[in-house]
């Protein structure tokens, strides 16, 4: 399988081509099956690649020469190593389940075919992004993934909010790519090539602050794509897209591209501690920041969106602490249970006639048993309760941050980050169970809607169950003995993936595990205390501390700042420049025209029609010439 890896991206590409060309008119519903089948094919090919045994020094597979102009030679090719395989497994696996789910979810949508044209294109771009073996093709598919998210967020393009959200998503991504592109070009000029192997090979013979600069620039790209602190504003708005899109793109695959990229660029980041500090810091802060906002959201998908931003923050915290394997492990588990939660919320929205406000929900557990149970399992996994996947990955993640902080190399900051991470996971537990209680428990707040609610069809519930199994089993199966689970050894084979040694003391690990479980339990209890017994309406909760609630609900006014600040200023400058262009630059041109006409009208005045004026001029001319003759003779 290692000799024709191009099969994996080929499946979705073919599906895209077929659906795109024949979808709307001829195939209609069949596009769903073609799409799902192609992703299944890609998944099978990935498994084959995995079984085929891929180790860190499998040679890259070059596809074709992209461009060669003077010193600028770029080839498109694939890198085949454990990190790629793990990512591909996650991407194709979750994509397949989402495709199947979408057949049911989008059944009655009139542009069903268009949905199943863009979705496989997204999967193709994501696969190529993970597979590419050089910075340029990484950047190429990085942007292509951004476009697919633009197309899918703006899927219901009649809705203005969806169209705005799509544009916003693409622009924020592009701002992130701005830093990413500068980083890539700097790499090219300093390393002479853009292939990972060449660049990682010669990292040592470059100054550390150059590497810091490159690392930070690349990290800007990651922040843009994985919606970390400054550039997170697009993800909550991205919820305008259909729920399967949110589940696939804005939970499991695309947003994790940033984490994958930092993990892949480990040699660059590893060189400078400041870079790791920045990554960890942004991660921890975003985790806490997003979790706090999640508390106050009333739209079920927005809660999940902020939860994703928060979990991604934790992954970056792990990357900052140098624990790459843990970060990828958490990425994998998070992909499963977050996709589960999103699809679950999709099933709820589907049942409640597209009503996304939790204030209209309540008491749904009786009507939608399967969705309720899978949703509950997902919630428990997200909060990090003992046997489920979330516990294993999040616990190790916080442990790695703790050990990095404790380690003697002066990075005490990570202890602070560890505390922030802990707080974040506490808030995670609180908002998760607030969501579950508001949706499923208590009395139905909208009786009329409630009466219509019903369990989703089998094609939607089946993926939920599969994901639930993943959410439960995946953690233990893959990562059981912390640091020595299957995934760690598998990933560890990735060349030089750092496996921090501090985890030697079992007691410390166990004590950390106990602390995190306690935190999770405490979170769930508070959620129950606050929400389930007294069934307070969101207004009541807000009354407790109106200003704080408003702050959280308004997402720290970041959106407003950006809208008036950046967007407003740019438009303002645009208007000014346009005025300058119309008045000054064009003005000068017209001025020249006007002056020519003015002077000509002046000279015209000489033609008075009086013969004597002309004669006078002649005489004057004669005088001047004779005078000149006399003077200069």
């Amino acid at each position: 399988m290692t000799d024709f890896p191009w099969l994996i991206p080929l499946f979705p590409l073919v599906a895209f081509a077929i659906n795109g060309a024949f979808g709307p008119r001829y195939l209609k519903k069949a596009t769903g099956y073609i799409g799902s089948a192609s992703i299944l094919g890609a998944f099978a090919a990935t498994v084959a690649l995995w079984i085929g045994g891929v180790h860190s020094d499998t040679p890259d597979f070059t596809l074709y020469r992209w461009v060669s102009s003077g010193s600028f030679n770029i080839d498109i090719g694939f890198v085949l190593d454990p990190l790629t395989v793990v990512m591909l497994l996650v991407v194709t696996g979750v994509s397949f389940l989402v495709h199947v789910y979408s057949i049911g979810y989008m059944a009655h949508d009139e542009s069903f075919a268009r949905f199943f044209t863009w979705l496989p294109l997204f999967v193709f771009a994501m696969i190529m992004l993970v597979l590419s073996n050089n910075f340029l093709s990484l950047y190429v598919f990085w942007e292509l993934v951004g476009v697919c998210s633009y197309l899918l967020i703006g899927f219901w393009h009649q809705r203005k909010s969806a169209a705005d959200a799509a544009v916003k998503a693409f622009l924020v991504n592009r701002i992130g790519d701005f830093g990413f592109a500068i980083g890539i070009i700097l790499i090219f000029w300093n390393f002479g090539s853009l292939n990972y192997s060449d660049v990682f090979g010669s990292v040592s013979d470059h100054s550390t602050d150059l590497m810091l600069l490159i690392a930070l620039l690349l990290f800007i790209g990651a922040v843009g794509k994985s919606a970390q602190f400054p550039l997170h504003i697009w993800l909550p708005d991205a919820m305008e897209g259909p729920t399967p899109v949110s589940a696939l793109i804005h939970a499991a695959t695309m947003v994790t591209a940033g984490v994958y990229m930092v993990a892949r660029m480990r040699p660059i980041f590893e060189v400078s501690n400041e870079a790791l500090l920045v990554v960890g810091g942004i991660g921890a802060f975003t985790a806490l920041f997003a979790a706090s906002i999640g508390l106050a959201q009333t739209d079920i998908k927005r809660v999940l969106a902020y939860s994703t931003v928060s979990q991604l923050g934790l992954m970056f915290l792990a990357l900052g602490a140098g624990a790459y394997t843990v970060a990828i492990f958490h990425l994998a588990t998070h992909a499963f249970f977050k996709a589960l939660l999103f699809l679950g919320s999709g099933s709820v929205i589907h049942a409640m006639q597209n009503q996304q406000e939790m204030s209209e929900y309540g008491g749904l557990w009786r009507r939608m048993k399967w969705t309720y149970f899978t949703f509950l399992l997902g919630g428990l996994a997200l909060s990090g309760v003992f046997p489920l996947a979330g516990f294993w990955s999040k616990d190790e993640l916080l442990a790695s941050a703790f050990f990095k902080g404790v380690a003697d190399d002066g990075s005490w900051a990570f202890t602070v980050f560890w505390i922030m991470g802990l707080l974040a996971s506490l808030l995670t537990a609180v908002y998760t169970f607030r969501m579950i209680i508001l949706t499923f428990h208590g009395k139905p707040r909208n009786a009329e809607l409630h009466s219509h609610s019903h369990e989703s069809p089998i094609s939607m519930v089946a993926p939920l169950v599969v994901l639930a199994v993943g959410a439960v089993a995946l953690g233990g199966a893959v990562g059981f003995p912390p640091e020595h689970g299957f995934i760690h050894d598998y990933l560890y084979k990735v060349p030089g993936v750092y496996h921090f040694a501090g985890a030697g003391e079992i007691t410390a690990v166990i004590s950390l595990a106990i602390i995190s479980t306690a935190v999770a339990a405490f979170g769930i209890v508070t959620a129950y205390a606050v929400y389930s017994r007294r069934q307070p309406s969101p207004e009541a909760v807000a009354a407790v501390s109106p200003r704080l609630y408003a702050l959280l609900y308004r997402k720290y006014y970041v959106d407003e700042i950006v809208n008036y600040g950046i967007v407003g200023v740019t438009k303002g400058i645009g208007l000014i420049l346009w005025a300058i262009d119309a008045k000054i630059v064009d003005g000068i041109v017209n001025l020249i025209g006007w002056t020519v006409r003015a002077t000509s009208s002046l000279t015209r005045r000489v033609q008075t029609g009086q013969v004597q004026n002309y004669l006078f001029l002649i005489a004057a001319g004669a005088v001047v010439s004779v005078g000149a003759f006399v003077i200069f003779r």
Partner: protein, 481 residues
């Protein structure tokens, strides 16, 4: 052996024949045949084009004014091959779509278009400074007529402005050509680079050439004719104006300014880069605030052509190659965009954003096509816009990192105004009830845009095949560091 002459003069013969025809359909038919013959000849030449050859190929030289050594000399090399292909490809498309839009005086319109094609092809293929100048002026007349006769309400102002702007520039160029002749005793482009001009003279020649080509590109301060010309030009005129005419400026810089005045270029480089970066950002910001769809695309052209000049003056081979690819891709993409604008204008007779809105529902096929070309225009990877821009950015970084960084903001702004345009035109609710039931794109329009879309993807997916045409020719440009 006379393929290039066939390419140049076939359209002119076609123009003459068109003038003899009677009905509107026969005129278009003859015009189509003429332009397709030219396209076929061009494809034949490109097929036979030897990519590794260094010098000019298929050179034909006949004495024209032997007294002062002026020859009718034509030849093709890497720098001009893509431009000739672009011209030969866009003209039949424009003639086909004009069949739908132009209904008065069709005969003269087709004739003007074909004469225009001859002029453009002549500019790209001429190897003699005087011949180049003749074709450069020849292009002006038909374009002046096309905008002036078949244009919009305010066409006279626009076309006179366009004519005077370009004409003043080219007059200065004539002075420079004469200066060159008096110092090197030859007009032959093959011979000129070996006879180095004196440093001081290079300065003046550079300034003269710069003015002529900067107006045509258009670079920052000289761009105000472009929006007016585009807004008033008929669809076909706009496509050719944006598609090919702007490239003559860039081509002129690469063919004449870089080889002939290398020292002057090296001195003036800081200014050229500054102007290009200003053009990129200025064009993008102003484009964002336009209320007229065609003006937005016109200003976006200013921004994209800013990349071209940035690439040309970056003194890197990858920059010049990127500039040529960017010109080729911009010709295709912006030409197609203007066709799309024409399609909307024919149906709704308005280009104002305030009237348009929610067209995606009424014209789904058109929505996909416009989305495709808008994404290509904002430089989406895997589409042609990205390849050229990225190579130019790499080159710009090589010299002054700030130019690269600022140019990159141009890329971000491009995404902003393009998507905002798409959103205001296509997405959201239909503002104007009259536009609820509009005919979607018909067969002719789809067939016209299909080859352009195919090329855009081909250039995007593997720009290498096109860059191979160019690298050996641009390698010969003497960069002074």
């Amino acid at each position: 052996m006379a393929e290039l002459s066939i390419i140049i003069w076939a359209p002119l013969v076609g123009a003459v024949l068109v003038l003899l025809t009677r009905s509107r359909s026969s005129a278009t038919a003859v015009a189509m045949v003429a332009s397709l013959v030219t396209l076929a000849a061009t494809v034949a030449v490109i097929a036979g084009f030897d990519r590794d050859a260094f010098g000019f190929q298929l050179v034909e030289a006949h004495d024209w004014l032997p007294a002062i050594g002026v020859q009718y000399k034509v030849g093709i090399d890497g720098i001009s091959v893509l431009m000739v292909l672009l011209t030969a490809l866009l003209t039949p498309i424009v003639i086909a779509t004009s069949w739908l839009t132009i209904n008065k005086r069709v005969k003269e319109y087709m004739a003007a278009m074909l004469v225009l094609e001859t002029g453009m092809l002549g500019v790209f293929l001429a190897l003699d400074l005087v011949l180049f100048y003749v074709f450069w002026e020849l292009v002006l007349i038909p374009m002046y007529l096309i905008i002036g006769v078949w244009g919009g309400p305010n066409r006279v102002y626009a076309t006179v402005k366009f004519f005077l702007f370009t004409f003043i520039g080219s007059v200065l160029m004539l002075v420079a050509i004469l200066a060159i002749y008096f110092n090197t005793q030859t007009f032959d482009v093959q011979v000129l680079p070996d006879r180095a001009l004196a440093e001081s003279l290079q300065g003046w020649v550079f300034v003269a050439f710069f003015l002529a080509f900067a107006i045509k590109v258009p670079m920052f301060p000289f761009h105000t004719w472009l929006p007016d010309a585009h807004v008033e030009a008929p669809t076909g005129g706009s496509v050719i104006l944006a598609g090919v005419l702007l490239k003559m400026g860039g081509y002129g810089f690469i063919r004449y300014v870089l080889p002939l005045t290398p020292n002057a270029v090296d001195d003036a480089r800081i200014w050229m880069m500054a102007l290009s970066v200003i053009a990129i950002i200025y064009g993008a910001l102003v484009a964002m605030m336009q209320r007229d769809l065609k003006k937005l695309i016109a200003y976006s052209s200013v921004s994209h052509m800013g990349f071209v000049t940035l690439g040309i003056f970056s003194q890197e081979q990858v920059g010049v190659d990127g500039a040529i690819i960017q010109m080729f891709s911009h010709g295709l993409v912006t030409g197609a965009l203007f066709l799309c604008v024409g399609i909307i204008y024919e149906r709704t007779h308005t280009r104002m954003f305030s009237d348009l809105g929610g067209m995606a529902r009424t014209m789904p096929v058109y929505a996909v096509v416009l989305a495709f070309f808008s994404l290509a225009s904002l430089g989406l990877p895997m589409l042609s816009g990205f390849a050229g821009e990225f190579m130019v950015l790499v080159a710009a970084f090589g010299w002054q990192y700030w130019s690269g960084v600022l140019a990159l903001t141009g890329v971000v702004l491009a995404a902003a105004y393009m998507l905002w345009m798409y959103q205001r035109v296509m997405l959201g609710q239909v503002k104007n009830v009259a536009f609820l039931r509009l005919p979607d794109m018909n067969r002719i329009e789809v067939m016209a845009l299909a080859p352009v879309a195919a090329l855009v993807v081909y250039v995007g997916v593997s720009p290498g095949t096109f860059v191979d045409f160019i690298t050996n020719s641009t390698a010969r440009i003497p960069f002074i560091y």
